[in-house]
């Protein structure tokens, strides 16, 4: 059923009794052409594009829990593409372009809201880094512009640009078409669209082992719902990637950390865009319901606990209060954590693995929500054709051996 | 021009002059001191102790006091020797004469010291320091590096209600201001 105001009105009149399930909840089949491990945004998008663009519809997406319950369901939803390196800019901008029409593509309103993402510069070094990004971005066709403090304030009136702040604002980079989207809707939209094309979404289906044949090829997964054979297996398990890959005997260049976020109580619109400060580590936007959505840092240690320390939130909230002293009396409503898989160069890994038949898409760390459509798109291509999509090619595992890292962290501190 | 050797600027010169005494906890800047960071394996350290006539604490995180001099054990192979300024030269020279591998480094100016004392001293520190400062957990004579707010300090309980804080000089104003903030409510 196509979603529209009309269909909604029809349902309203009929008392909302129609509402068919947005996705099927089938029983697992014994064999699929492709099994995707992980029903987060990236895994579901991969399945969707496999079906849509490569005609591979005998696909299952497996999740140990409920679909979208990983980092997709717990991120601060910042979308931007003003990354430094050419390879990154190409990847993230590919995704960014897709966001712009995703609602229509999926017939599901993912509420992409390009309200502008602003990154603050607090010292001379910040300004140098930001300007370097702006120049590199322009060359890559990724819009990003420098704002003076006054221009920054005009764009985001709550900013305090007085020079006697502990961390004064010397200026900012603004990507006007950056913004946010409704994270859950992204997962649901992809799930609905993929399911409609025949993709089976198997929830509560934890992958517990990966079977390999005599040649070493990965041929099946053992799950909490039984054995499922697969022509190809794509692992898109975010924080759990190391765990799943270990089932195939592979060690990954990953560490999993808790990353926290929090929301305030909802208030009337008071914050018009997304603001990030890498130097004092805070980022902030306001959701459709009115909460201030605030991202905190990662805890310092590897953990799968989906919870973090109070001192981490405290460090973020003192930064928020310092930047926006008018929010000091606002109250934290809920705090939660996700498990982010972090690579040494803070760039993702997308591609083939040393195990034939096994593909991996991981390492998005603290910043992969923005890449969801693009990541699924290039990964689907990689799985379908067996060769990396040109945009994905630089993000191979191989780069750790050769030393061709794509180090966004070194160049830009934090990435969200 | 003033004699540069005599004209010294204490990092808490301005702030230290201004603290209001309070019944709960008083805060004061302590005078300059000689400080030596002594690093050596314990056996060698013992020889040094004998040479300088200042017994070194054997237990971790404990201080020994002898007259005006003190030795704080901050790590398995690390002691901080504190004494009056005049003692500095001789302390260092003797320590360096001791055979055996060791590191003796003059850090007199690296830090400055302040003191917080009074019945509410523990509460004031507790506003910024995550350690358990109950007398049973942190008895008189205990000393350790730790954090006060966002600054590293050496905290030493020199008497039941008295703490000496050693802090790197550029962090001293921050530490001072934190403690002032913590004291405020006890003026009521």
């Amino acid at each position: 059923m196509k979603f529209s105001l009309l269909s909604l009105a029809r349902n309203a009149v009929s008392g909302q009794t129609a509402g068919p399930a947005q996705w099927r909840s089938p029983q697992p089949r014994a064999v699929y052409d492709v099994v995707i491990v992980g029903a987060g945004g990236h895994g579901l998008a991969t399945a969707y594009y496999l079906a849509k663009e490569h005609g591979i519809r005998n696909v299952a997406v497996l999740d140990r829990g409920w679909l979208g319950g990983g980092n997709t369901g717990r991120n601060t939803t910042i979308i931007r593409s003003n990354y430094l390196w050419d390879e990154s800019a190409r990847l993230y901008d590919h995704a960014h372009r897709m966001w712009e029409t995703l609602a229509q593509e999926l017939n599901y309103n993912v509420m992409f809201s390009p309200r502008g993402v602003m990154m603050l510069a607090h010292n001379v070094h910040d300004e140098q880094v930001v300007r370097r990004h702006i120049h590199a971005n322009r060359g890559n066709g990724v819009e990003n512009e420098w704002l003076s403090p006054e221009q920054a304030k005009a764009f985001c009136p709550p900013l305090n640009i007085s020079s006697d702040m502990r961390y004064p604002i010397l200026g900012a980079a603004l990507q006007r078409r950056g913004g946010t989207a409704r994270h859950d809707a992204v997962a649901w939209g992809y799930a609905r669209a993929a399911s409609a094309m025949g993709v089976d979404i198997l929830q509560n289906c934890e992958v517990q082992a990966i079977d390999r044949d005599a040649t070493g090829r990965a041929i099946a997964v053992e799950t909490s719902r039984g054995r499922i054979a697969a022509g190809k297996i794509g692992v898109v398990a975010a924080g759990h990637t190391s765990v799943v890959m270990a089932m195939a005997g592979l060690r990954m260049p990953l560490e999993s950390y808790p990353l926290q976020a929090l929301v305030s109580e909802p208030v009337k619109p008071c914050f018009p865009c997304v603001v990030m400060s890498n130097t004092i580590h805070a980022y902030l936007s306001q959701s459709y319901k009115g909460e201030l959505v605030i991202g905190a840092g990662t805890d310092a240690y590897v953990s799968y606990s989906q919870a973090g320390g109070l001192h981490i939130s405290a460090h973020t909230l003192d930064a928020i209060c310092e930047l926006f002293p008018m929010f000091r009396r606002m109250r934290m409503l809920r705090n939660w954590g996700g498990i982010v898989d972090v690579t040494p160069d803070r760039s993702p890994v997308i591609g083939l693995t040393p195990v034939p038949g096994l593909f991996v898409n991981c390492g998005w760390g603290t910043g992969g929500f923005k890449a969801t459509p693009g990541s699924g798109h290039v990964f689907a291509h990689t799985i379908a054709t067996g060769t990396p999509h040109p945009i994905a090619a630089p993000f191979s595992l191989e780069r750790f051996r050769t030393g061709r890292l794509i180090d966004e962290a070194a160049a830009a501190a934090v990435a969200h | 021009m003033a004699d540069p050797a005599a004209a010294r600027v204490h990092p808490l010169a301005v702030l230290g002059a201004g603290s209001m005494p309070g019944a709960g906890a008083t805060l004061r800047a302590l005078p300059p001191a000689c400080r030596i960071s002594l690093r050596a394996d314990p056996q060698v350290a013992a020889a040094i102790a004998a040479a300088i006539g200042l017994p070194l604490p054997e237990a971790m995180c404990r201080a020994n006091v002898l007259g005006a001099r003190a030795a704080l054990r901050l790590g398995p192979d690390e002691w901080l020797l504190i004494g009056p300024e005049a003692a500095g030269e001789s302390l260092a020279r003797v320590a360096m004469a001791v055979p055996g591998p060791a590191s003796v480094v003059d850090v007199s100016h690296r830090s400055t010291a302040l003191e917080i004392a009074g019945p509410r001293a523990v509460a004031v520190l507790g506003a910024f320091c995550a350690l358990d400062l109950d007398a049973a957990a942190f008895p008189v004579g205990m000393c350790t590096r730790t954090l006060l707010g966002k600054a590293e300090i050496v905290l030493w309980r020199s008497a039941a209600e008295c703490f000496r804080i050693e802090v790197w000089r550029s962090f001293a104003p921050y530490v001072w201001n934190c403690l002032e903030e913590g004291r405020l409510e006890f003026f009521i």
Binding site: L5, A12, Q16, P20, Q22, R24, S25, G73, N109, M111, R131, H135, R138, G139, G141, R166, Y167, E265, V267, K268, C270, K289, G290, D318, C321, R328, R329, M330, M332, L333, N335, G403, L405 | D3, P4, A5, R8, V9, P11, P32, R39, P101, A102, S103, V105, V107, S108, R110, A127, F128, L131, D132, D134, A137, K150, R169, S170, Y174, E181, E185
Partner: protein, 995 residues
Amino acid sequence: MSGAFRTASGGRIDRTQPILFGFDGRAMTGFRGDTLASALLANGVHLVGRSFKYHRPRGIVAAGSEEPNALVTVDRGGGRLTPNLRATQLELRRDLKATSQNRFPSLDFDIGAVNNLFSPLFSAGFYYKTFMWPASFWKHVYEPLIRSAAGLGRAPTEPDPDRYLHRYAHCDVLVIGAGPAGLAAALAAAETGARVILCDEQSEPGGSLLAETEARIEGRPAAEWAAGVARALAGQDRVTVLPRTTAFGWFPDNLIGLAERVTDHQDRPDPRLPRERLWQVRAREVVIAAGAIERPLVFPGNDRPGVMLADAGRIYANRYGVRVGDRAVIATAGDSGYRAALALLGAGATIAAIADLREDPAGAAVEAARQAGIAIRPGTAIAGSRGGHRVTEASLRRIGGSDRVERLDCDVLLMSGGFTPAVHMFSQSRGRLRFDAALQAFLPGKSAARERSAGACNGRFDLEGCLDEGFTAGAAAAKAAGCGSPRTRRFARAGAVPAPGGFLGAVPGTGKGKAFVDFQNDVTAKDLQLATREGFRSIEHVKRYTTTGMATDQGKTSNMNALAIVAGALDRPIPEVGLTTFRMPYTPVTFGTIAGASRGMLFDPLRHTPIHDWASEHGAVFEDVGNWKRARYFPRSGEDMHQAVARECTAVRMAAGMFDASTLGKIEVVGPDAATFLERMYTNAWARLAPGRLRYGLMLNEAGFIMDDGVIARLAPDRFHVTTTTGGAPGVLNHMEDYLQTEFTDLKVWLTSITEQYAVIAVQGPRAREIIAPLVEGIDLSPAAMPHMSVQTGQICGVATRLFRVSFTGELGFEINVPADHGRAVWEAVLQAGAAYGIVPYGTEAMHVLRAEKGYIIVGQETDGTVTPADAGLDWAIGKAKKDFVGKRSLSRPDIVAPGRKQLVGLLTHSPQEVLEEGAQLVADPHAEIPMRMIGHVTSSYHSAALGRSIALALVADGRSLLGQTLYVPMPDRMIAVTLVAPVFYDQEGRRLDG
């Protein structure tokens, strides 16, 4: 009198202290001891707000922190505006001014209420299905529309002037909740001499006992007993009693976050007090005694003002002396309704009837109601309500009977669906919940932390049981904390044992209309059912699709009903469907409280050098580098930065300049293996560096990329003075310690930070030697005795110094290290001595220009964590004969030796006055169009006074093979042509180093 609905006597309010307060501009009176909610109710005000989505009129539902509806904004003036405060928790104080929220223009007449008419459109998830066409409407029509509907209260717009403070605390036993169970637990633990902290979110300890009028404990009226116990506890040395303090979060290793509200309730708070305090309590053991929360019944029209929780009605009567209405209908599934009925009767109300979902209600409470002549309708459900801004009628229907509905007039409708144990903190501690089928409730199951639950939160609903369980838990906690055992104590008490009872889900057999589950987020039973039909089968999906439980009350009153409805719709047992995750905070916590004192200058330490004050007095403009303030330039009157820097640079090249280099990191490396250690940590060779000599040191990380650099002095065979970059100092020390302690454990060497021990004054320029010569004692400054890259110790101005002959400008230069206290005096002495020679102080900006003229790199500017020594043209700094050093192996990786890497070069713009922008990119093709192939970027760019033109450094792919060629810097409006040159612009031969 403080309102028409105030009882003549009773309650814990102080009737001698009337308080004037305002609500939506209307002045009213209450008493000390009231909450805003009780005071409003005493004045007959039920309508206090509008709901989120449908803007339905809403009233006060509860009496505690679980309140979903009664959210108000309080403005205390001067920036002290707080939205979304619960009227049920706001203690009345003088001049309290509260306003209702989410309505326009007024609470009585709210335009937003039209949403209610369109509510069939606004079913769960409606956003996702619409607003997509035409696509262009999204940005300018749909999204603004949706956004404008967001939120409840308004955010403050001014900075908050109040203070906040933290307190770390440690205890043997932390007791959360000071009801009978918590008080008994604290008593038991305190008796053993344990360190005890007892906290409760309410204004006074006592919990449910504060509204208890019948029971007696140990011979005293319950409330009096509670007050006595609390007083006795607070009087003990090792016990801390914290009222108005919410345990909001549970963190690993029994760290509990408590939020204490210190001054909001005070008439005129002392500004020296923090407004709120965050306690971070490390507790050996915790007793959770958090009580239970009453559940509403889900029936159509259950959200009208005047529809309240039964126990809230009782509490308002008993604790606050307020009659919540004159004529009550009560719908209940257990004893609570009867207890409320009796309390209301006592407060002067009429009870129209009690509808009890149970077929055969029995027990003491029921008997008492019968005795009092109250009409009881067993086996009867509440079917609906009527009314506009206040309930006026309730309809009852016999379960399983005919469709006949009994309509009863009323002005208040009390409901009770039973009690939900408050397992929030237990669950946060990662304990596993178990479903108790008899109680139809989740209870604490297997513990994960060192804690135990007692009382109503553990499913004990009788007072005696709560007291005993609390005492036992307190004793066990103290024992587990190693504190011995208390004497046993039995709490003789009188009063009835409540009969179990309760109901989960939507009341059966009701009529049409919206039956709300989550009041604040306007989620109805139907929404939940719709969600399950649409395939949202996980409770987590249902939550997110419908937003049930996501409002500011986090579903305290609604989650169990929602769960039961979903379980029903899925036809699965409740425990199989399960609850959503309990997360911190238990109730919302102020950002300021969590930030604490960390603000302004206490936000982050600001580090000043010993020479800072002098610079500041002499007009320096500073820049932030890490936590340091560094003088950037010293403008003279009328000069801009460009002019000042040019003047400073010229002075250094022509005469001399002095620079405060105190922020440079410094590490003293001492021990017999010091040289060997440095061999392994730096790329360079150190073994044969003679004492008294300096060498440039290059440090790599293990991946082979440049990490830091600096000059290293060998003071003695076993003693080096290492310098690092300002920002890199802590990282370098940590990196060295790491290898020393865990990798090169065979080495006897120790590292001591001496960054702050020394003030460092760089004196640079052809006259440098002459200037310092008169000040120096015991050091032979002659070029022979003290050549470039050497160090001597001696005295300067009578102060001990480590004097380096070193240059970061290309001129003859010295760096004077003196003990920090003497830094300023020596600085002034050098300045005075240099006056005759034209010495000037210069800042970091001139320093950058001077070193760039010489092609010296700055780590962090020419490098960004991806640059190797070869890239930076520093191959010469690698000790070729060395077997190993950190990073060596990485330098032979395929892509590190591959062609095409970016290399450091110099750039000269074709028009000499053009200064490139740092960070600008380089392309080969002047006609390149976006997206263009970029082959490098500008790392440093300045106007050089010495050369009378601009210069720049850049990293360019294969740059060294392109020297002499022209490349282009694309700017938004044009291409700038540049020639690639070797990255040394000034004094290529290095003659000036000798003055």
